[in-house]
Symmetry: C2
Subunit: 324 residues, 2 copies
């Protein structure tokens, strides 16, 4: 495959020649979504992925998510003009300004890749990893210039959801952190800087903390899966979307602030904390979850449910867009 | 004060004579919000509250929340025509179809009140408590006909947020559970039936589970209050609003379902669970939270922040309204 094959004709469009060039390493679901977002933002994108059918997979995947990018306000006619594919890693990354790596979460594979990226990419190339669990300090262990590597962890899917968790490793330079924050902001993301490399970073720790209690309550017969989803949609979901967890406390009780909240509700909260459930994901628990989830959500084709969710998601994000 | 004083002239409006009559017992912030919602839905409302300035407090409070009821689509001209005040409890509840009790959370005071309600209210009157922590089984301990009492716990504020947790006590009749669910649905709420009287019911258990980890992460310097609020607004908030926690898993990974999620992310989730923080709300923790919260949210007048949040909240709820 020729390097930087332009998928469609570039006639009359040379804008890619002076735009940021991002190389996607690993184009599964996450890499594909990043590809769509980068292209929609006018960037030049090279995709590197060992799958033999990668061109077809990416092009049909982009076709599938196009409507949501359009709904978000992007003009995406001919946006694949700035897309190319390269199956040799050293060629794919050679003139990248930024690399967004999205390969599977395996420490050995990532370490081997980063060792190569250190050799193949120009020293000025910023290297961002979509890793959801492995830290920058871990994946760069066999790499020399780890100061330019950090985690840019999206909340699936990055072409839709604004969050990027920016998590520096123990060697990441301040300059590279700033470049990452600036880059993500420039493409409409809401990057949030995470101060320490903790397991699950922040979003999955919060996600899993709520899930643990949710699974516990369903498992104990306190509420059904359908009831719990409805309950969150009718309360915490919209409230945390409009205010976030701490602003919710600051504005609670007619704006009395977090001090008054802790004074009034602290004892009740501490009492609830003591009784929160411990969950074992054993066969019985899994069977309960599978059955209830299927009863609720397997009666309608899943593509229809995803479309419906994404339409609602986009409408909600549009509400947030003007006022974070 | 005369019983059922009509605050404004009823000339030309006798609709209240055949509508449901709800008595609010306790009209603090929650009772006031219920009052506005019930009136906006065309119900007749009697307010009972021992505060000497209760009429003024409720009327000015209604004036303050009117704009949000209007934004939600309610026509509320002259809606206080169906509002009256009664400072004798036995008179206030004598011909109520439904009582929504919203007095402070104190077991002794509630038990004493429910003993009286059992004697003063007609046997057919449905009695709903806004209690956030005390269960129906506890508050009815000195009452004879506890079969008609259950918790109808809103998510503040009930005139805005759709959730009502319907939590029966150990003596509540099925008929009364059905009546409560039907009543709340009839006024546009999304009642969710809770199967067991657990501490914090469901919404506060989920709320506090996420808050515990949030406080832990801020306390450990992993993220700031401002960063965490931004992170949730950009990810979990909108996602849980569009899909709820379990539907999120069912549709995750291109719709592979919860079984695949547990298979792929179960080990990581279990690992994160093991490391979730324990929090002590000691002086140092409180001081950190107060300082960061004030730095973020005390620079703008709190009424402005509340207005801004509520406007965004209403816009989000309108997105949900057509498709739950």
């Amino acid at each position: 495959m020729e390097r930087h094959t332009i998928v469609q004709s570039t006639q009359g469009d040379n804008s890619h020649q002076c735009t940021t060039h991002v190389t996607i390493v690993g184009a599964g679901a996450v890499g594909l979504s990043w590809t769509g977002l980068f292209l929609a933002n006018g960037l030049r994108v090279t995709v590197h992925d060992p799958r033999p059918d990668i061109q077809l997979a990416v092009l049909s995947g982009l076709e599938r998510i196009k409507w949501s990018l359009e709904s978000l306000g992007y003009r995406i006619e001919k946006f694949t003009q700035r897309l190319c594919f390269e199956d040799k890693l050293h060629k794919a990354v050679a003139d990248a300004d930024i690399i967004q790596e999205s390969i599977p979460e395996d420490a050995e594979t990532k370490q081997s890749l980063y060792e190569k990226l250190g050799r193949f990419a120009r020293p000025s190339t910023l290297i961002l990893s979509s890793s959801a669990s492995l830290s920058a300090s871990v994946i760069t262990q066999r790499m020399k210039d780890a100061d330019r590597v950090l985690i840019g962890h999206c909340f699936d899917a990055p072409h839709l959801m604004p969050l990027v968790e920016v998590v520096p490793g123990n060697k990441t330079s301040k300059d590279c952190i700033n470049r990452a924050m600036t880059f993500y902001r420039s493409i409409g993301k809401w990057p949030v800087l995470i101060g320490k490399e903790v397991s699950g970073f922040v979003v999955n720790r919060l996600h899993f903390a709520l899930l643990r209690e949710s699974i516990h309550l369903v498992n104990s017969g306190v509420i059904s899966i359908e009831g719990l989803d409805q309950l969150v949609k009718a309360s915490l979901g919209p409230r945390w979307t409009a205010a976030g967890p701490f602003k919710t406390l600051a504005l609670g009780g007619d704006g009395e602030g977090i001090a008054r909240f802790l004074e009034r509700s602290g004892p009740m909260m501490t009492d609830v904390w003591r009784g929160l459930g411990q969950v074992d994901l054993d066969e019985k628990t899994r069977a309960t979850l599978h059955k209830q989830s299927d009863d609720c959500y397997a009666r309608v084709p899943v593509e229809d449910l995803i479309k419906e969710r994404d339409e609602q998601q986009i409408a909600i994000l549009k509400v947030l867009r003007n006022k974070k």
